[in-house]
Structure formats: structure tokens, C-alpha cells
Point group: C2
């Protein structure tokens, strides 16, 4: 397997090529179309060198690259990646220039090395290695590479929507994952959904003197009461229907919750805590993290918060919240439930504003055959079992493929627990770049045989 | 009655004298000891001109003036006033110099005219008028005049404590009251007590990513739950014992609540409301305002409140609160009840800091004979009934005399509904200065006869 990828000249060439690609400062937040176009052109040329039909897809935002290589079978894998990176700031916190990649002690330091240029190149190199070794690919592959992921992928939904047939695939390898704290490779099967909103209470046209606190409604009390009506002190959401559509855990989901090392106590210690909210045992932590929706207050503000005391009865207050949603939940439905809850509990005067509901949860079934393919490919390459993470803690744009609910989407990457994605001194282990490349090649081989 | 006070030469002289006194810029916040000493010296000289024994009392702060004039009877009235004033800023919002008093359309404009130099001079002039007319006073009078009231009377408690015997009296006329919106003279029988505090929730050593909201406690949710446990959405305080020691309303208190025009709707309209919290009828408004303690949130803050959304699970949050206390309640006891409540309901980790408990309620019984004396004196002078206000909405230092719970304390002043105390263009009606002076003289006469 992958003798080609073990050749020193090839390893050197692929590392050099990754370094070349990392030199492009493709910071999507900078809106520098020239450098983004340069990266897209670079990718198209590189993909064409593999014999791919490569081109740009129409997009209202930064260039989106599409490429396709027919294989021995119609069975198709879609690779989703992005060529844009986070801003490198603060620059003085870097040990070396973020866009002048350097290898120190086997680690490659550069902005984008972990997130997500390393992973992107691993897909291209895996395809090339198979072509060099076999002449053809065992499966058909498609590349979808966008340039706005670090800015929230604003154009991706419309691009995918306009190209549903083109992007059709039997499985999708998503952009990124990392070795865990114990050094075990991981794969991530999902993203949570999200509904963000703001509650604004306004109880009078102006603040009043608190000596008359019994006469005029207080906006902070009103907001506090409304919030307390929505969630009990233990964290259970009290909004009618909130949990109703959550997909029950399968036997496989339950097994993952039981068997995946969560290391709750170490996580708690990082925050100075003895205990996590659901308890420290693996099952409770995993279930809370992967399969339980949440309602979080991001911030709250009202009245006088300067030094000392001010005898004021505030007439306005607001809170920012966000619900993280799990398999089966719909952000629009949750938004409606919350509005209904407030209305029903007598808080219809509280305004819901600044709403953001367009992020659906995306969970690939843990017992999907493709999960086994990816896990086995990983354990063959790494020589150790791959940890299956049913969901990332965060939210992401996998939902753009929710019109293909049967397509498994699994994230794989080249990083490790201290890769510092989004932070100064972002880095990967050079060796991990080749592990992942080999795993991707092996996935193509194995998927052809399933 | 008070023919002396109707003499034009006397009215002119008294108005001139008030103007002279108002010229002294006795802003206690400026800490300018020279001008404060000058005002105290001026007062001592003026009181000595009445034949009083006048002197300074030992004080850790600004000069405190004491004077005593023996009358025909040992029955004693204590006059409490202050010679300091609020800062005049913003100066450009004044129509004339705040320390160059001017009369326009019968109104005298100057900082301190309403609060409280007009009232102070009304006491001195009333005593002088009686002495001129009768040769002696019908009752003994004592003056206690401080210079730090606008800075919260920090020295008054210790000064009064060190001079309990000296300051003993059968009744006390307090510094100030004003005609109400309908132009009716008022008298105020009390001040609310206050306990201010801050609740601080800290749930971890650092904020965390809200994708793990189910794992780590959220300080805002914790604070919200604790607050919601302390007060129901209708405003009832849920802290055990909070209402227990509140003195039940007497028949007289009930009658005042029923009969005092509260004009709830007009008050509500000022804040863009159709309805006050307790309802718009006089009884409900008066009872809520005069006899019901409150728990008010002054301010709340935690997490991210800038633009947009930030996916953070905040580890700290705080709220500022204050309880206004009514007859029978003790701020230290309320502070203890709140601490016990939090402990008992599982919120013992929430810190109570920035505590301020040293303000007791002070309520003179509405059926005290002295209330009748003051009211009758007022209605004789004004030719209309005096509105009895059982309490000011605010808090004040009457509690320094709580070692004399049987001494009635009633506030009288020279202002009107638009006197703008503490604001630019502070003013009084010149005629009101003489009404109040006459009322004070009449009180002395009538009190001697009770």
C-alpha cells in the first residue's frame, strides 16, 4: 500500500508543494481578490495536472473551485476543502512568519497548515499517488474547494444549491479533524446546528428612579424572568417541543458514548473545575457533547454597571443566546418554538431580534458503512484505532448537503491536539501530513470494494 | 397670626438675607472647607442674633452647626437642615448664574433655593418672627445643620451618636418637602431604608467555547437562576422572612392610602405606560409606593455584548441590586435573609459583595399627634389641606435618630413640583418661602398647646 507515498523524493516534493501553497496569504477576511484568484488558479492547474476537468463555479463571493476525475467505478467521493485561512494576527505572537513556512523538530509552522491547506493537499496527493500506482482511480472523485470558510461560508449554500447534480456523490470527505490529546487519530461525523438570537426587553420609554421600583416594570427583571422560564437551573430547556424531534440514539451511538474516551476530569481541570456539568464519566460527557442540544447565554446587559451603585430602575435590557442543535432538530422550528414559548408565558412584549437560524445539524449515522471504511483505512495507516467523534462541538456548513441526507460526510485532517488552528504558531507534524494522505488513498481503494 | 411676617420691610429683608446666603457656593462635593466654614460661621452669627447658644459640634467632616433657644416650655422641636448644595453643573444649562440669585416672575432662581437653604432660612425666620412678636418662644428649639447632606451625610451618624442627649427633642422638623403637582402643600413623614448589594457568579477560571455549553456551567445562567429564585415575575420577593417584620398598616395608614391623590395614570404616561405595576387606582399606587418594600435590579452584565454574536460560554457575570425597605424592616436582617436564601437554594457559590446596609427605614406614625399639628398649621397658613406623604420614595438619613423611635420627624419645605432640585434652574416661588416660614411659626405655637 502506497509505496509511492513512502518514496523520499515524493515526500520531499509534496512537502515542498504544501509549503509553496502555504505561502499564499489567502486570508478571506482581507477580501483581497487577487491572492484568492491566484490560489484558485494554482488549484485548477494542479488538479488539471491530475487529468481532472477543473473550473470555477459561479459564486457571488470568492472563487469556488470544482474538479472531477472519473474512476473505474461510478461510485463517487466528494472532497470538500477550503483554500482560505484565518487572519494571522497578532503577528508578534508568532515564532516565525505565518506565510514563510518553516519546519522545526518535525513540525511545519504556517498559517493554514492545519486549517486547512494540509488536509486539502492530502486529498490531491492521495489522488495523484493512486494514479501513479494504478493508472486510474478505483472510484470517481469530485473536488469542491471554497475560499470563504473562515468567514462563515456565506456563498457556499447558494453555490451548492445551484450545482446539486454536479456535486452528487456517494460519500463526502470533509475538511478537517485532528489527533486527540492522547495522539489518536480522529474522524468527525457531524456538526451541530445553531439558532442564535437576541432577546430585548423594553418596559418603559425611559429609566426611572428606583425609589419607585414598585410602580414601574424593570426591564432586567422582566428579561431574567423570561430567561428563567426557558431553562431550568440544571440546564434542561423548558421550551415546549425543544427535545421532541431529537433523533433517539442508535445502538451504535450508545456504544460510542460508552467507549469513546472523553477524559472529563482533564477537561474540567483546564477550567479550574472538579466536575463537568453532566458528570465526569465518559458516557455522560459524550452524550452531552455529541447528542444533547443546548441553550447558551452569550451575553447580557442592562442598567448601570459602572462602579458603586446607581438607584435606577432600567427600562431596557438584552441578552444574546444561541441554541446548539443535534440530529433531528431544525433551527427554524426551534426559532418558532421559542417565540411561541415567550408568547405563551406572557413575555410576548420581549422582542426577538438579530436572529440567525440557517445552520442545520448534520450527523452521519455512526453505523453507516462508510464510517467503517474510513475507520479501517485509518487504523491500517496509523497502526492504531481511529476515534469516531459523532459530532464536532461546533457548527459548520455540512448542512449545505442536507438535500442528500443519505450521503455520509466524514471529516479528516492532518492536525494534532496542539495545532493551534486560528491562533499564532499554527502547525502540523510533517509525519501526520503523510499519514492522512495515505489514509485518504486507502479510503478510495476500500470504498471501491465495499 | 404672623403679622410680623406680613410686613413688607420684613419680607424684603428676609428675601435679601436668603439671597445673601444662597450666594455662598457651598457645594459639598467640591470639598472646599473655606466656603463651608464661612457658611457655618454665618449661621452661628445669625443664630446668636436670635439669642441662641450656637456652636460647632465635633465632626470628622464638614462643620456641623448646633444651636439652642430655650422657650417657655421644655417641649422641644429639633430642626434638621443642611447648608450644603448639589454641584451646579452643567453650568450652560442655567438661565442665570446658580450662585447669583435672581427673581423672575415671582420665582427665585439659585442653586440651593429649594434644597435646602430656603427651608433652612424659613426655620430661622420663623423663630425670629415669634421672638419679635412674643418676646419668647412658646417651645424650646434646637438647630442641627450639617454640610454634607448632598454627599450622603457620611459624618451625621457619628455626630448624632455622640450628642444623643444634646439633640433630644419631642419632635423634629426635617429638611424638605415640596408642593405636589396639583399645587397642594405636602409633608413627608418618612424615608425608606435601603440594602444595596452585588451578586457575582464565577463558574470557571476562564470562558469557554459555547460548542461545549453542556459541559461547563454558564455564569449568566447561574446568575439568572439565582435572581429568578429571589423574586417572582409579578414582583413579589421570595426571600424567606422578607415581608415578615413589615409593620402592618394602621387604620390611619389605610385611610391615607385611600384618600391621597396618587394620580397613577399621569405618572404612568410620563414613561409611556398605560398602567402602573400595582394598578392605577390611588390605593394601590400609594400602598406600593409608601408601604411595600422592593427588590430592584440596577444593572446586570456578563459575557459578550458587542455587535453580532460570539459563541462564548461566559464564566463571570454580576448584577447590582437594591432593596428599599419600609417600616419595621432592618437592612442588616434583610442582608442576612438574602445570604441565607442563596445558600439554601444552592447558590452559595454566588458571592455577595459591594454591600451597603446602613440605611434604616424611618416612618413617623401617620396618627401621631404631631402630624395633626403640622397639618393644621399648614392648612391654616395655605388655606388648603396639606397632603400627608407617609414616606418619600427615596432613602435619607432620618435613621440617625432611630434611638428615639418616639420622636416624630416630619419634612417641610419651600419648593414646588418644578423646583428642579439637583438640576439646572433650581427655583422656588418667593411666596412659598413665606408660606413655609409662617407654617413653621404656627407649628411652634400649636405644639406648645397640644
Amino acid at each position: 500500500m502506497s509505496a509511492y507515498l513512502d518514496r523520499n523524493d515524493i515526500r520531499d516534493a509534496y512537502l515542498d508543494e504544501l509549503v509553496e501553497f502555504l505561502r499564499l496569504p489567502t486570508v478571506s477576511a482581507r477580501n483581497d481578490i487577487a491572492v484568492m484568484q491566484k490560489a484558485a488558479d494554482w488549484l485548477i492547474a494542479r488538479l488539471e495536472s491530475l487529468g481532472a476537468q477543473a473550473r470555477l463555479l459561479d459564486s457571488p463571493g470568492m472563487p469556488v473551485v470544482y474538479a472531477e476525475i472519473r474512476g473505474d467505478s461510478d461510485r463517487t467521493i466528494l472532497f470538500y476543502n477550503h483554500y482560505d485561512v484565518q487572519p494571522p494576527e497578532p503577528l508578534d505572537a508568532w515564532s516565525s512568519d505565518p506565510f514563510e513556512p518553516v519546519v522545526r523538530n518535525g513540525m511545519l509552522y504556517a498559517r493554514g497548515s492545519d486549517d486547512n491547506k494540509g488536509a486539502l493537499m492530502s486529498r490531491i496527493h492521495a489522488v495523484e499517488a493512486l494514479l501513479k500506482e494504478r493508472g486510474t482511480l478505483p472510484v470517481t472523485v469530485k473536488f469542491l474547494i471554497e475560499g470563504e470558510e473562515e468567514s462563515g461560508s456565506p456563498s457556499l449554500p447558494v453555490v451548492v444549491d445551484h450545482n446539486r447534480d454536479l456535486l452528487k456523490a456517494d460519500a463526502c470527505i470533509w475538511e478537517n479533524a485532528r489527533r486527540d490529546d492522547a495522539g489518536n487519530p480522529t474522524m468527525t461525523l457531524g456538526n451541530k446546528g445553531m439558532y442564535s438570537f437576541e432577546l430585548r426587553a423594553r418596559t418603559a420609554s425611559a429609566d426611572s428612579h428606583s425609589g419607585k421600583a414598585n410602580l414601574y416594570p424593570n426591564a432586567i427583571w422582566r428579561l431574567v424572568s423570561a430567561l428563567a422560564s426557558m431553562r431550568d437551573p440544571q440546564g434542561k430547556v423548558l421550551v415546549d417541543g425543544f427535545y421532541e424531534s431529537v433523533t433517539p440514539l442508535s445502538a451504535s451511538d450508545e456504544a460510542i458514548c460508552r467507549e469513546t474516551p472523553a477524559n472529563g476530569l482533564r477537561q474540567a481541570t483546564k477550567l479550574g473545575l472538579d466536575e463537568l456539568v453532566p458528570g465526569n464519566d465518559d458516557y455522560s460527557v459524550n452524550r452531552a457533547l455529541f447528542y444533547t442540544p443546548s441553550m447558551n447565554i452569550q451575553g447580557i446587559e442592562g442598567g448601570y454597571t459602572g462602579p458603586g451603585h446607581k438607584t435606577v430602575n432600567p427600562s431596557t435590557a438584552f441578552a444574546r443566546l444561541e441554541c446548539r442543535l443535534v440530529k433531528g432538530q431544525d433551527p427554524d422550528a426551534v426559532a418558532a418554538m421559542i417565540a411561541t414559548h415567550l408568547e405563551k408565558h406572557g413575555y410576548g412584549d420581549i422582542q426577538i431580534v438579530n436572529k440567525k437560524a440557517g445552520a442545520w445539524p448534520s450527523y452521519t449515522a455512526t453505523d453507516h458503512p462508510f464510517v467503517k471504511v474510513v475507520a479501517e483505512a485509518g487504523s491500517e495507516v496509523y497502526g492504531k484505532p481511529v476515534v469516531v467523534l459523532p459530532s464536532s462541538p461546533g457548527t459548520g456548513p455540512r448542512f449545505v448537503f442536507r438535500h442528500q441526507p443519505d450521503m455520509p460526510i466524514i471529516a479528516l485532517g492532518v492536525g494534532h491536539a496542539n495545532s493551534r488552528a486560528h491562533a499564532p504558531d499554527e502547525n502540523i507534524a510533517v509525519e501526520d501530513q503523510f499519514y492522512t494522505t495515505k489514509q485518504v488513498a486507502r479510503i478510495m481503494e476500500k470504498f471501491a470494494a465495499v
